[in-house]
Symmetry: D2
Subunit: 350 residues, 4 copies
Amino acid sequence: MNFASDNAAGVAPPILDAIRRANDGFALGYGDDALTRRVERSLCDLFERDLAAFMVATGTAANSLAIAQLAPPWGAVLCHREAHIMTSECGAPEFFGGGLKLVGLPGDDGRITTDILEVALDANEWGGPHHVSPAVLSLTQATEAGTTYRPDEIARLADIAHRRGMSVQMDGARFANAIARLGASPAEATWKAGVDVLAFGATKGGAMAAEAVIFFDPASARAMGERRKRAGHLMSKHRFVAAQFDAFLADGLWLRLARHANRMADQLGQGLSEIGFRPLWPVEANLVFVVLPQDVHKRLTAAGASYYDMHRDTAPAAEFARPDDVLVRLVTSFSTTVEEIDRFLAAARA
Amino acid sequence: MNFASDNAAGVAPPILDAIRRANDGFALGYGDDALTRRVERSLCDLFERDLAAFMVATGTAANSLAIAQLAPPWGAVLCHREAHIMTSECGAPEFFGGGLKLVGLPGDDGRITTDILEVALDANEWGGPHHVSPAVLSLTQATEAGTTYRPDEIARLADIAHRRGMSVQMDGARFANAIARLGASPAEATWKAGVDVLAFGATKGGAMAAEAVIFFDPASARAMGERRKRAGHLMSKHRFVAAQFDAFLADGLWLRLARHANRMADQLGQGLSEIGFRPLWPVEANLVFVVLPQDVHKRLTAAGASYYDMHRDTAPAAEFARPDDVLVRLVTSFSTTVEEIDRFLAAARA
Amino acid sequence: MNFASDNAAGVAPPILDAIRRANDGFALGYGDDALTRRVERSLCDLFERDLAAFMVATGTAANSLAIAQLAPPWGAVLCHREAHIMTSECGAPEFFGGGLKLVGLPGDDGRITTDILEVALDANEWGGPHHVSPAVLSLTQATEAGTTYRPDEIARLADIAHRRGMSVQMDGARFANAIARLGASPAEATWKAGVDVLAFGATKGGAMAAEAVIFFDPASARAMGERRKRAGHLMSKHRFVAAQFDAFLADGLWLRLARHANRMADQLGQGLSEIGFRPLWPVEANLVFVVLPQDVHKRLTAAGASYYDMHRDTAPAAEFARPDDVLVRLVTSFSTTVEEIDRFLAAARA
Amino acid sequence: MNFASDNAAGVAPPILDAIRRANDGFALGYGDDALTRRVERSLCDLFERDLAAFMVATGTAANSLAIAQLAPPWGAVLCHREAHIMTSECGAPEFFGGGLKLVGLPGDDGRITTDILEVALDANEWGGPHHVSPAVLSLTQATEAGTTYRPDEIARLADIAHRRGMSVQMDGARFANAIARLGASPAEATWKAGVDVLAFGATKGGAMAAEAVIFFDPASARAMGERRKRAGHLMSKHRFVAAQFDAFLADGLWLRLARHANRMADQLGQGLSEIGFRPLWPVEANLVFVVLPQDVHKRLTAAGASYYDMHRDTAPAAEFARPDDVLVRLVTSFSTTVEEIDRFLAAARA
């Protein structure tokens, strides 16, 4: 009953197989290899356009490299105040970006709305030389709250950003889960809706360590090779990160894995609702947030369930009926089983 | 009728005289001169203790060098959300600090309270490796709202910070105005209350370009010389920045100048109150904030009054009776005259 | 006949097996897993002391994180002028180190001598506030020229560095090859000889992407977790980098793989000598440098041999008999075969 | 007898007067004042073209801001190995430039030649993603050795740089001395010869603290305002730095002051030659380098002469007849007197 994180899951077998197959003979390092070329072509096919892709091993690197490419050191990056880049990367975007500034925006369900974005842009003094300049709108898809942005929402937000001269970056650590849910094509959910750069995550979705920074306008990726290298993120035996992506994308594996994770989250959310623990936010990806009474929490933990409790400020105070109620985050993955869900619900119910 | 800023004022005549007197013969550059030594001794006398002082030419440099010395790149600097370092230095602390993070706290009257500080420290996830670590509490004295922290308030805030392993830095661009008001000694209002480092401003108080970063524990200033030099803030003909501070401190000039500026602000505030425009926040330094009806604002401007209007979000919405009411900031200085105040009030009244 | 680089080789089968075995069930991310703990213990055993280890995916990251931890932004890092960190990491140490300065030293055979180090330390103006301060001596073991430092040489160099207040960092991308050759224990070749921090590479030795930054004094690793995280180098599914190291260290695999690579380099060097192409520098690891006449170079290339030619300035001019002679670098690896060597020599000879 | 540095001199009286005159009434801060506008126009007139100018208080800031604007963090800045930015600014260009790399070139007389530049550009591996890219050629005019580049030499160097896609920056801390000597117009010695950005120093020439970063192509100065502000180098009471430049440029004062300093250096150099101490390098600005026997050095010091001795590596070993010979640098300034020169020569002679 492991619902701690999708990064506590292992590697999907087809991806592990691909790594093994890639281990055949010699291949030049640093991305000068055939598998890397093939992944680049696959990404172009998948997104239905020319693009520039840079694979790295961590999501922190993918987001931070993307942001640093889009924002000058005196730029502001507007993101949800609970965004991973804001709260959980120990200041990585600031490091990569030479001291740029993240500005956290409010928003229910982990989502920024057009109203929120416009208020933020209007309420602050921006621009030189005294104030930082809004440079990037960063959207997390799926969000930290397990919700998703629909393409039309993205388009409206991107439109506001672009009109202010900002770029739009998408943290897609769980992009697969969002796409699996939305029924939109990857192109529709990104560049067709105004996303300029996507950090496309494979790790949480079933890879070992593989993320791709995707610039939909290749011209905007100028010198990204140097940026990646000097950050230590150009892999030496690069074929192995490429192999992961190759398998991830082949025959829609990435979507099959994500659909499973989403389905498991749905069952978990529905099961908890039936017991009386309604998820706080719509379950639109592979995350379920519920408030549990202390005794239920203890019973689940005793039964061996693994998950994180969140700071109570993450949810409206009204959600907590008792002072010792616990807000918990349950994450499913490609490897979550129906049996785990059932056992968890049984333990919660009992 | 210039109330735009205290940096729109010129240089107090005794300071200009001191610059002229310092221009006699040769003196080694980069601070190896007798005037610099004398200022260092004067600061020790003024603050009643051994200390390490580093003079620079701008307040942005003074604050940013101090903060970078106290916080690692993965440190968080907690400050008021309207603090100058947060809003008006174009990301300077982030640049000097290698990408550290500023966290803006709310607070009426421009002041952080112990409650606010404790809530912020408790509400966030802090610490490695995923989260930044609280490293510095930065207090602005006098605040951007023209209010001041009393020594006992500082002591309680500093105590919270120190118990969390944080340092306390004070942005004292208007330190003179605060001290002139508080009736506390410089020592009582700083290190005796727990302030670790003070950016002591002379520029707004009547100097040309002179600020001092003061480390009350000289050991904490290790390698500050290198830090200042590589930021381009070690003055070549250093005797001239020292001469300014020397005159500023001599015979209490700094307090006489500040008392005049404060008195002018008091008269302005009282005069406006009598007309019906009550200052939003207590006038405790040389700043007066009032909401003016549009016609009064226009009349004043037409009469030649110079001042800035502020974003309405700076004040509670309830302060604005009419949609076109304007929140204005009026700043007095050592060179403000009673005649200017009278003319301004007459124009406001008419 | 692939002698381009040891990173053009794949992954040693036992390491690939270990990755597969690690893919069993759930394990908390970010290093909170049992395999990571086991590797940490293995490293303590191997180096015969308590230490702090941080695994990352690239050598650039390992070196740069180590250096940034040891040197302040105003520090100088003294290294061989042909060192990888100097020439081939696109300024990574400078990026991680907040703008520190690398100072390249001369030295035949890729090695810095005590004389060279002392001359460099004496010939420059060092120290604050005007000059950078010598902070780190970085030694590459084995060197870029395929030579090695003996423990007593390291000890003498480290002694000079320590007496100047510097730390000693070792770039051990080919540490295994050096140890396999030296007949010294890992402890004798590192901390017992004065090395403070080792970037211990497994990738070139047969892993997929695994390097460890090893602090022999755990106290000197303070906040390295934050430093690694904000550089994007904390792996999410950390167990898989740990699995690689676990297998690399188990039963001396790392030394067996390195001994094979070294033996292949020996055979290559001896064979080339017999034909008349004497290696420029002693073959003490898995690198062979020879000057080839243009026709031999063309014949080898035509025969399918893969290797890099080097800039002629890398070797003394006297080594080049003809203007179109080519300096080439031949790198062997754990996967080089005797048959490849034989074919290469045959093609060179014919 | 002060020959320690031109920054040990004070402020030329007309510049001090201008500061006093500028202290009349109010003027908006941060450069929004009439004097700043006037200096900008004067600079356009002086350089016979449209340009963008940014005044700051130190030469370190002027050079570092210019370089950071021209080079990306993965850029290399080629400069003479004795250049001030290389040896004496504690890594400031690296700090401002986000960790860029300075590459020191050899060159007699403090000058880089076209041969040296081409060899350096050809001898190194440059470019992404593994190597830094040559981005800026930095020329010091007058050089650290007291020599000057003639416009045609600059043009040939700039041509090489431009053909490689590099920009040309000039460290003009002693630009006035060079122009006073060369008999070329400021335009001829800068943009007409291919200089893209000039750090035009007034401080050493007689100002208190005033330098200007001049972009001959205003478009290349995009966001320099933000860059200057976040480095703490936008002066608050900006009119006073403008006043210095205004007086410096008025009626050719800058050239008159420089001509005097140069003439004093000439007399010193000729006088020393007559005694038998020939200057090492042509005296083309306000610097004289001579090797003195120990007893002469002691006699001069005893007589009260102030100057610095240099590291012997700065000059060819053959210049030192005796092991205790001392290489000294003598700097004249606008305030050096004939009487000082005579006394110095008398003491040297006796």
